[in-house]
Symmetry: D2
Subunit: 153 residues, 4 copies
């Protein structure tokens, strides 16, 4: 890339390119077969990005009309803060666009949004063995000693 990608809110016209990135992201997490993200979930999540009542947002990295990456973030309440926490749930860069700072730019764009939005904390989860991603995360955020427990209802 001879110039930097721009980071911007997702638009309805982005659907096809976003869906391809979203599929790549879900494939990385091996959400296939019975654990695949259904079309209904994808459509609902997409619609929620454009529903002003939902505190769920998406930004993309764009370069020459091509989407190189996505980030999804959600504001929610927290018992120890007045303002909302900002959960950066999903981050993905197209494989052939890696190594150019797209992921970092997307994370930093979320920081800017959270700051403007009165949210004192951005957080996310990543798998212990995700060495590539963690190299970046160790530079831009703090690793805690918290584990994640989960129960499917």
């Amino acid at each position: 890339m001879t110039s930097k990608p721009i980071i911007r809110d997702v638009r309805k016209a982005d659907f096809e390119q976003w869906q391809a990135l979203w599929a790549g992201y879900n494939a990385f997490y091996k959400r296939t077969g019975p654990t695949a993200v259904s079309d209904e979930v994808t459509r609902t999540t997409w619609a929620r990005f454009f529903d002003a009542y939902e505190p769920m947002h998406a930004m993309v990295a764009e370069h020459d009309g091509r989407l190189l990456g996505l980030v999804h973030y959600i504001y929610h309440r927290n018992t120890t803060m007045l303002g909302p926490a900002c959960y950066l749930q999903d981050l993905f860069t197209a494989p052939d666009a890696r190594g150019h700072g797209v992921g970092r730019a997307l994370i930093e764009a979320v920081y800017d949004r959270a700051a403007a939005a009165g949210s004192p904390r951005v957080y996310w989860n990543t798998q212990e063995n995700n060495d590539t991603a963690r190299k970046l995360y160790d530079q831009v955020a703090d690793l805690t000693d918290f584990l994640l427990y989960r129960k499917t209802i």
Copy 2:
């Protein structure tokens, strides 16, 4: 205890007893001095439990009029599910009431609520070295291999 505590929604009349448990919980996490939970946050969080617009809830374990434990949980959106995720943020049992299943009963009450509420997942974070709590958590939920990164804005 010769009988089991009951698990119920918190009530406004519980404030003093709840506040003592909440203080004990925050002391456990060493939220003191500059990182203490302020009175304003405590009052706001308490008010949110009784504000039907806020998806933030609290239950307590009560035995003979005494509150033995608390649990706080919050529903929020998630990009991979139609229904909300249920974040069990805080769980605490009074030190002298431990070993009688209060924590487990509070967690299971959240499971029941989440099931009734169309929430397919309950989750929480706990510190790696919290061996006592983890003995219980390993019995009632699944440990994932996710780490938690955090950025203060």
Copy 3:
């Protein structure tokens, strides 16, 4: 009716009976043809009643297993109150069950919920010429001198 109907939260098993009442309600408002409430809206609204993240609720009046009426209410913010306003959006009694206090019982059940939920105000809109309904409303609430303006976007 030899006994009074019970007022309770709607359940998933109520769908068919609820849908019939909902259709009757929408027919009353002449939402047909191009202004009909679509199946997608009906399904989404129904799902929202069971989504704990959505502050949208439904109760029904039941007698001997038959649903006689419905009420839908929504909590939302208001700039002049700390707690949420409660918008009683829809109220309907099956035509052959009218005159037995079903509508009044449904409204009063919403009052009870709002009181428990920290909501200081319940409100609704009704058409000026809806004399039958207004006879009841004039007994249980206060008519204001506010008109309703609306812009379709």
Copy 4:
């Protein structure tokens, strides 16, 4: 005014000027004495404008650094729509700035926001005898035949 005011989101630095407009607005509605909007409500409402979790927003009309008007709007669910309704709750123009299209510009800015936000309907209430305001409203929106009933809980 030799140039048009700009319409923009409210900023924290606007507090004093906003508060003066808000006081003027509440005085118009005779919210004084026991029905006055308390300082706590004013502070909470102001904080909510800057809380990304709250679907409550404010814009102001600014000219040469002076705020001439305000508009507050809130997104909330509605049983007959997929996207949220947009409730334009408060609109006020400083008395000495009237007659220059400030109110209309604020309303139209809300329309733009609602359109971008996937909200198919903007609505508001106004008192029947508010002839001045209604002259404007009749030009930019549709008067319905709905009355407003209200119950203080």
